[in-house]
């Protein structure tokens, strides 16, 4: 139906980036707080925190994309130009 996008998260990269900015900060391996369903993590050795960071990043890019597209439409441009993304970034 639509083009396939690579969907896996670069988890170690995400962790490294956060480490770069805040070396003392740790991401929870599994957090069973908040809501009951979260305790599913305890059965897995994954880091859902990173999946969440990835989700947040995806949403950020989605917003940026939408905003840039709106800007491009407003200036009757057929392609996304740098100024559209810069303006979008300022809004977000």
């Amino acid at each position: 139906r639509r083009r396939r996008m690579k969907r896996t998260a670069p988890r170690s990269t995400l962790r490294k980036i956060i480490k770069k900015h805040k070396p003392q900060l740790r991401l929870a391996a599994n957090s069973d707080l908040l809501e009951a369903w979260l305790f599913y993590f305890t059965f897995k050795q994954e880091r859902p925190g990173l999946a969440m960071v990835h989700l947040n990043f995806l949403l950020f890019l989605h917003r940026l994309a939408e905003e840039a597209r709106t800007n491009a439409f407003a200036s009757k441009s057929k392609i996304i130009k740098p100024e559209h993304t810069i303006a979008a970034a300022k809004v977000i």
């Binding site: 980036i17 805040k22 989700l55 947040n56 597209r69 740098p82 993304t85 970034a89």
Partner: protein
Amino acid sequence: PLHPLQAKPVPKSLRASRKKACEPEVASSLIKKIFSHYVKMPVARDAFKIVEKCSERYFQQLSSDLEAYSNHAGRKTVEMADLEVLMRRQGLVTDKMPLRVLIERYLPLEYRKLLIPVAVSGNKVIPCK
């Protein structure tokens, strides 16, 4: 035999310094792919560079926000709750748009399975509500 030996060290040191300067960041190809998937229209090459820069700024902001949230809770570890609070503040998670829906919509199956429990074998639903 001396000449080739002397010629070698220069590029090697160059290579080493370049490797050291490399900062951890999300692969630009991945950013490009995700962004173009969402815009659904052609994007100029310079515009992608801006997107990359924005992503870097975004991670900087994200890290300090997460630090603030976990510090506020008296923890040194970022937990799921911190991320949910952050996403609520960003206006991504609202009463009409719960986190669960976002996860279902944006993340691939293997991560969904991590974050949202499903019925498992043995007629057990994790977790039981």
